[in-house]
């Protein structure tokens, strides 16, 4: 049905940092949750109301975020569809808490564990159930990879020695990271282990190369392959589940979303570096004419191209901090989230049969 392929957008409001809300009541907050679908931002002069597929209030549990947002995506993944769950928001808005859970507990059974561990549990629960139902006729193979995109370069978090991997495409398997380590998984606990190990690599990297973790995107991908034998016919089905922790949204000012800011010419003669961006924008506006834009999308959008308006099930969890000091960032996150619903793949079926009806 129609609901199937639209991008679902959820907003989660984290509790304010200690001290802010208790001391000055709701004064220090820049938004209020009106219902499970509406949120009001206390902007001036007029407050602004946003509508989303789901709004999680401060006291919404990890469990209910998971079951409203992610459960369905894991299920369709079992049915052979690709699924992607994004977390978006400024640093400190609760992305990692939502996706992973409290950082200090390496414990996978923690009651506050996030969407990712819960997705693992659910995925393997479904796999076990399928296996029981189908008996020996059906088998599953789960593999995972974990990569990080920083400065338009791809690093393998499961192999800290590697650097600069390339994105490639396969006619049957879609986009993949060439050379990324793939680890076979047999249980949710194992998956969680791989994830935490990779996550640790991410942090190590952040000190050794002096980069902040919130400047990089992390993509954890689980491939689920099922093989079913019906008499002599072997039916193989494969799908991907991408769990994405995006870089803090405040870091993305330099990309296309930037407002009116002019890019300065560098000190070096040649570096009028944004000329290409201006021209790409000019070509983009082109009126349905055939044209080629030389500058590729970012690595992240290329990797997840299928998730953004393809035939995958995609959900974006936009995390916001309710503190009034975060007003600007919260507004831009909510605006992004609202735009996200409109994301569509630009490609159209070229239908040109004018004059052919005779």
């Amino acid at each position: 049905s129609v609901e199937g392929d639209a991008i679902k957008v959820c907003v989660r409001v984290r509790p304010p940092s200690e001290g802010t809300s208790l001391s000055n009541g709701h004064q220090g907050l820049c938004l209020s949750v009106l219902s499970s679908k509406n949120i009001r931002l206390h902007s001036k002069p007029e407050p602004k109301i946003f509508t989303f597929d789901y709004v999680a209030n401060m006291d919404t549990t990890q469990e209910s975020v998971f079951s409203t947002v992610a459960k369905n995506i894991v299920e369709s993944c079992m049915n052979g569809y690709n699924g992607t769950i994004f977390a978006y928001g400024q640093t400190g808005s609760g992305k990692t808490f939502t996706m992973m859970g409290p950082s200090e507990s390496g414990n996978f059974t923690h009651s506050l564990r996030g969407v990712i561990p819960r997705s693992f549990e659910y995925l393997f629960f479904l796999i076990e159930r399928e296996k029981e139902k189908a008996g020996s006729g059906k088998s599953f193979l789960c593999k995972c990879s974990f990569i990080e995109i920083y400065n338009e370069q791809i690093f393998d978090l499961l192999d800290s020695a590697s650097a600069g991997l390339l994105l490639r495409e396969h006619i049957n398997k879609g986009v993949f990271v060439d050379g990324a380590v793939e680890q076979v998984l047999s249980s949710a606990a194992e998956a969680y282990q791989v994830l935490t190990m990779g996550w640790r690599n991410r942090r190590v990297a952040s000190t050794s190369m002096n980069r902040e973790s919130s400047r990089s995107h992390a993509v954890f991908t689980v491939t689920v392959e099922s093989m079913e034998k019906n008499n002599e016919v072997v039916n193989i089905r494969s799908s991907l589940l991408n769990l994405v922790d995006l870089a803090g949204s405040e870091r993305q000012k330099d990309t296309h979303t930037a407002g009116m800011r002019l890019k300065e010419a560098g000190n070096i003669n040649r570096s009028l570096s944004c000329l290409s961006q201006v021209m790409t924008a000019l070509v983009d506006i082109g009126n349905g004419k055939q044209r080629h834009v030389c500058y590729r999308d970012s690595k992240l959008t290329f990797l997840l191209r299928d998730s953004l308006g393809g035939n995958a099930k995609t959900c974006i969890i936009a995390n916001v901090h309710p503190g009034s000091r975060c007003f600007g960032e919260t507004l831009s996150t909510l605006n992004f989230a609202q735009r996200a619903k409109l994301i569509k793949n630009k490609a159209v079926v070229n239908e040109d049969t004018q004059g052919n009806v005779s």
Binding site: S1, V2, G4, S76, N79, G80, Y81, N82, G164, E169, H170, I171, N172, G174, V175, S239, G259, M260, R261, L262, K263, E264, A265, N269, R270, L272, C274, L275, S276, V278, M279, T280, L282, V283, I285, G286, N287, K289, Q290, R291, H292, V293, C294, Y295, D306, G310, N311, K344, N345, A347, V348, V349, N350, E351, T353, Q354, G355, N356, V357, S358
Partner: protein
Amino acid sequence: MAAVGGCGWAAVCEKFRTARTLSTVESRKDPETDPYRSKYSARALLQEVKQLLSAAEEGDEARLLAVRRAVLEYELGVNHTDTEELSAGEEHLQRCMQLLEPHRLSPDCVSLYIQAQNNLGILWSERDKIKTAQTYLESAEALYNQYMKEDGNPPLDPSEHFMAEEIQLTDQERSKRFEKAYTHTLYYLAQVYQHLEMIEKAAQYCHTTLKRQLEYCGYHPVEWALNAATLSQYYLSKQCFMESRHCLAAASVIFSQAGQVPSAEDNETEQDQQDLRQRKAEIARCWIKYCLNLLQSAQKLLEDNIGELDPDRQLELKAQRKKEEDEKEKGRKKAVLFGMSDICDSVLAMEEKVSSVYPLDFQEAREIFLVGQNYVQEAKEFFQVDGYVTDHIEIVQDHSALFKVLAFFEEDYERRCKMHKRRIDMLEPICSELNPQYYLLISRQLQFELADTYYKMMDLKVAIGNRLEELDSHTIKKINSLAQFAIKYYELFLDSLRNPDKVFPEVLKEDVLRPAMVAKFHIARLYGKLITSDSKKQLENMQTSLEYYTFLVDYCEKYPDAVRAIETELELSKEMVGLLPTKMERLRAKLCPFI
């Protein structure tokens, strides 16, 4: 030199120079935790210099002093904006302009004045007041033009005001720096116009910026070439083929320079080589689009109301072309030409390889087609299907489109058919291998295009058959098989719209509405065209045909918004829904004449 003369002056210059080095060189090494450390030190030094200057006696050299102060205000202004103190930065820059105002057209001030305005432009854009930025930048542009008209001698570079006389710059260096400041003005204006959605102006300023980069050798060949190629695509969308070709020719020429330059230490990594090959392929793809657009636009001009070449129109356009060609193009050309003489010659030679005027007959079209086809081969060398699926397929689709438009110019139906067959041969293998789970949209595009191509071929075979006295069995077989293939691909396309439970959507989304309807309509027609001597079979085909026509009519009744998308098809469908049952009744009567 008043109070700060002699060795005092040398110390001042030294301080100034240190401040500049701190600001431009040292600051890049500042730690992330203390990003403005060097800038703050530079600021302190500049303020010291300012103190020293104001201690100087005013009087005999008031003008000199004012200009020096302006330089300091400028440096302080830039320093403050760099460190996110916009208001202070604005004050300094304004003061700089005030001090210079009376002398802004003199050779020792004009460059500084322009740069101050450039920086105010950036400053105001950061405050989201793009219109204000625009006024500063446009006034900088005007000042440059006025100066060049009235004086034109290489003006002093701002840094020279704090330089010992014996190390002053050469005229050549001065001119280079002045022109660079002005290039920046144009570059910022290109951005301003883009933000203000003044697209044409933005493109024009991009063009000028590129041109000046070339003139003053301030460019990196690969980057420049890619920019020029991208600009060519803008001109394509405006149907300015001459400009588009010029950009592409220049892109190719400049790009080839990049290959010739022996790499600095000859230790280019594999990655660099790979990048270079990719850029080359990207430029080739821009050329493909050029050829394709030129051909397609020509087709639009030449086709009659059923999409065939209109010979009257052809003659008319040929006559018109003869008349206009020379006068008009030459005037336009002057304005956009890239490069100095040596580059210019290569660019012109490159341009000569392909026309920039609409092809009006098969021969002309074929020449453009061949150029396009060569670039298809070149682009495919890099964008191989293994590793670059999407890009590769896009190139193949362009190749197919080149054949499609060439077929329009071909008068011989048999040969035209063969061209379409070529398209099928290139598309079919990809389509069957492509996994729609990851490439749904491309998959749909291919299915539709294949269906459409088979449909066209069938039409051509029917037309050829109609010229014969009688349809021979071979032709009939051919027509039927082409029709079956067309049906197969239309059905595949329609199946791709089904949901996971294989149910066809109740409501079609906007982006697939028209193609889905056209697919239904064409299937209906195809069943009508199938030739069979078996009346029962014929009746079945008519029944299927009727079902598809009915789908269209019913859908539009239920969702009247859809009517707009398929007006002509709907009209014909309605007609058929009215006619077919009677026809079928007659056929049935013939089948069982005794009832």
